[in-house]
Amino acid sequence: MDSTNLNALKGSLSQDYFSNQIFQDECFALNGDVKEHWKRLLTNVEHLTSEELKNRQQELLKLLEENGVTYNVYGDPDGLNRPWLLDTLPLLIAGAEWKILERGMKQRVTVLNMLLEDLYGEKRLLKEGIIPPELIYSHSGFLRACDNIKLPGKNQLILYAADLSRGPNDKVWVLRDRTQAPSGMGYALENRSALNRVIPELFKDHNVNKLGGFFNSMMQAFLKIAPHGKEQPRIVVLTPGPHNETYFEHAILASYLGFTLAQGDDLIVRNGFVWIKTVEGLEKVDIILRRVDDSFCDPLELREDSQLGIPGLLEVIRKGNVAVANPLGSSILENTGLLAFMHNVFQYFLKEDPIFPMVATWWCGQKKEMDYVIDNIDSLVIKKIDRMTGSDTWIGHQLSKGKKEELIRKIKFQPSLYAGQEAVNLSTSPVFTKGKLEPRYTVMRTFLVASEGSYEMMPGGLTRCSPEKGSLIVSNQEGGISKDTWIEVHAKNTDLTLLRNPDFRRKAVLPSRAAENLFWVGRYSQRVIRTSRFIRIVLRNLSQTNDQDSDAMKALLKTVAHITGTQDLLDKENTEDSLFEQLHDVICHPATNGSILSTVNSLLRAMYAVRDKWTVDNWRIIDDIENVKRRLALLEPENIRHVFPLLDQLNLGLLSFLEMNRQSMYRDEGWSMNRIGQLLEEISLEVLQYKTLLTPRFDESSESQILEALLVSNLGLSNYRSTYRTYFDTAPALDLLFINKQNPISILSQLEQLMKYIDQLPKRDNVSRSSEIATLAFECYSKVRLINVDKLIEADKNSGMREELYTLCDQLSTQIGTLSLKLSATYFSHSVYYKQGVDESPFEV
């Protein structure tokens, strides 16, 4: 160890580190010396130099953003998909300490597992007064409907997480338990792989334990609870959906473990089993890894207002036909008041003291304890026993007099719902920010998974640090910074046994919802591409002409309204805005239905909803689209000319997205749905354009202006020039746009493609419906195939309209619309449900 280096480091990086820091630090001893197990890491950091570390920090955040690693914050307008923050420095845990941690956490989860089994079984702890029954009955997590339900095997808790911190006396404390749907292990995995990729130099001379083995054990743990010992169970991850705070994690866990990602209404109960709705029909589900809170899982027997669950699930669980982990009802263990009694619970089950103490806690449901909490409120943190949100936590000494009195009133009103806890001092660890190290309060989350009646701990974890210097709040909701967590111990299986997915030989299923979202990604992306291209040309024409009232201009503006479904721009009665202002609205106004921005928003929602389908490169593009979207939203009407580069960027992005898919997407039903969505959108937008622009017969100069615009917007200009002549005429243009098979976007070519993809869709039990869809496509195709261009261009002498062309476009529009509706009725799930019964009282005695 070169101590001069370390001293230099202390000079540059950690200047002022201790100026407002007196607590325990993970890395530095109180005299400023670097702790032994951090020395190699800091040397590696020193070799990199602070400048380089800064660069890598940028790179790291960029990588995470591009990988789509996000954490959603409820109630924050920009909260959806907030980027995940990762520090360049990991947290190191010394090997010897790790061994103790492992022993302590195994002891703790063992006790919690026994407690859970007892609360929903014999209830000895309640009968014998080890835990006051009120504490259990007052907690919303005690679900009576789950009484006496057991998972096969010895472990009821399959997954467990705990937040740990270190107090001033070097002792490790348990801050809280996470038992119902512990989150964070996916982020831990992502942190490790990002850090490893961006700053491999840090890992020099270290032998950091890998995380893969833990996930392998997780797979094994799930296989163990398969109903009736089934050998190749189908496992789904049940997520509340893209708006959930940790949706990113649900998606990556699903794809890492090879499980299917599903939302409540992707699943349905039939004949005593749970099934997943796929484009091919119903497939049986054996195991559910749930990330939906337990009371939301079955509206029949639990919260009846839930739309996130599966009606009838509990009866299937009771029959033993599906296993849910963690079991429903396990949130009772997250009861803050329980911490006051855990010491006795350890003694009761194991005749041992807990290896790690927990935060001193007083449950207000007991008179003496309530009085203590009220008398000492200034030194305590008050919590509701039900964990709801951060707003259910009060730090006593930070409350104003009025707020304190209000809180005391609340406690006295319903004492059993509150608990007071000793305010704990967290230790700090160094976070690299603005070119130097800063001490930040630190909490580490550890993860355990059931294993053969015992538990296995992840050799790593998710460390989170406070967002601000000196702030004690450490949570993702408040914008914390995460750290990779390094353990270096000799474990029995450090090598990575390949993850064996029980599903691997079986064909993957495509849930109906995923199919639907892929379909809409197709439709919306083409809608954005086509409409923005067209509007762009109209804008150009408009800025080059002095005559806004020419026939050609009017027809083009009308088409903008038709293809976007927005208000007619020439309808002067409804607005005083100039045409430019109105066009700005059609592009940039998110609340205008059909505007490009609102379509981009719908597109992004559909993309996020199937986030497990996109490659890393695609995420990069989606990130770009997000950026363009933000800039479009900020564009002022007077700067409308700046919209051109933005629309170009949007178009290029989407085209490369589609091309990337073409190269990388597995050719399954999902691909077909995506292509069908694109084709339906393209055909219907083109037909609409042709109907509005080519049906009326204009004078020659208007007609040629319109044709030029159409050909440019539909990329046919050079094809036209090379195939036909140099001036614009309607007949050859119709030939090119409708029936020329060498033109890939002629209506005929596209209908041919459409028939091909429809043919590849799975035939559903409802055969007549599937064939109806194919018939509709074929009808459109033959109609176009039989076009006689000479007849199409004939205009009625009186009206000046090309009646035949009008009828053709009109029929095609209707049929394509019907086809889309039938497709969605056949392949996508649209189950709506409500609760039985009416509000009027049935009682009249």
Binding site: K127, P133, G312
Partner: protein, 291 residues
């Protein structure tokens, strides 16, 4: 006394229902002095799945699933129940236990860990100052539990008017205090709320009551209704029932279907319907004395 009870429920749906799941709580309890001799639940359309289980409170629940399209659902439950009498009320009459001592006496009771839950708030029974204020004059310093229960029942009976149509299943009990109108469910929830807000264990009873036709008139079939009343725990005696809607102590005319913390636990029919659109409900109950 033997009764035949017919409880007919019919849902009519505006739109076709593709699937439904229902939880029925329609099977009368079998307990000492109160035997359910027969219970038959007939459902149209015939359910694809049907199972029964005993719930957390000891009631019999029936689960049914229907996977065929339907626009109407009929649930007909027929039961025969034999009731001897309720003895606890007579014992309670001479009980000298003061209401203030009940909570401390509970700790000595065998099933205390279960009884405790009936002292706590629940879905329809909140902790409430409005309720405490309403009830306070019934809870005099040295009153016995027995006299408190009777005074309270009397008070509810005289201050709240029995009037259908003013409240729904979800009307908060505090609103009932303001309206001073309600049906048996509201009477029961109000009495339970008063007792629990004073720390006493009280539970909700759902069932039926035999009604007698006005003198000289024929008994009308199907004109009865389901009923709800209250059960209060008396240390060393057990659960004692009170009917605040009629201001009487249930004897052999009250037929019990289920016990729970409140209506939420023992709703006769609870379900999820896969459909869009409205539904209409009609309920007919007939309680017929057969011996």
């Amino acid at each position: 006394m033997k009764y035949r009870i017919r409880h007919y429920t019919e849902y009519t749906y505006e739109e076709t229902v593709s699937t439904c799941f229902n939880r029925l709580c329609l099977t009368p309890l079998s307990i000492p002095q109160h035997q359910c001799i027969m219970n038959d639940i007939n459902i149209v359309p015939a359910p694809d799945e049907m199972s029964q289980r005993t719930d957390f409170f000891g009631n019999t629940l029936t689960f049914i699933s229907i996977y065929k399209e339907h626009k109407r659902l009929k649930i007909n439950s027929t039961s025969v129940v034999d009731i001897e009498n309720r003895v606890n009320a007579e014992l309670a009459f001479s009980s000298t236990v003061l209401w203030k001592d009940v909570h401390s006496l509970l700790s000595g009771v065998n099933d205390a860990y279960e009884i405790i839950q009936y002292t706590l708030p629940s879905h329809h029974v909140p902790v409430s100052d409005v309720i405490r204020k309403y009830a306070s004059d019934c809870f005099t310093e040295d009153a016995t539990l027995w006299s408190v229960c009777n005074t309270l029942m009397q008070k509810i009976y005289t201050t709240v008017e029995f009037k259908p149509g003013f409240t729904t299943v979800n009307t908060p009990v505090e609103t009932v205090v303001k309206l001073r109108k309600g049906v048996c469910q509201d009477f029961a929830h109000l009495m339970i709320a008063c007792l629990r807000n004073m720390g006493l264990p009280a539970r909700y009873v759902s069932g039926y009551i035999e009604t007698l036709p006005p003198p000289g008139k024929e008994r009308m079939v199907g004109a009865d209704a389901s009923h709800a009343w209250v059960s209060v725990y008396f240390p060393s005696i057990g659960w004692v029932e009170f009917d605040p809607t009629n201001c009487l102590l249930p004897t052999y005319k009250h037929i019990t279907t289920a016990f729970g913390r409140d209506y939420q636990d023992v709703a006769p029919i609870k379900g999820i319907v896969f459909s869009s659109g409205q539904q209409k409900l009609s309920v007919k109950v007939d309680v017929e004395r057969i011996k």
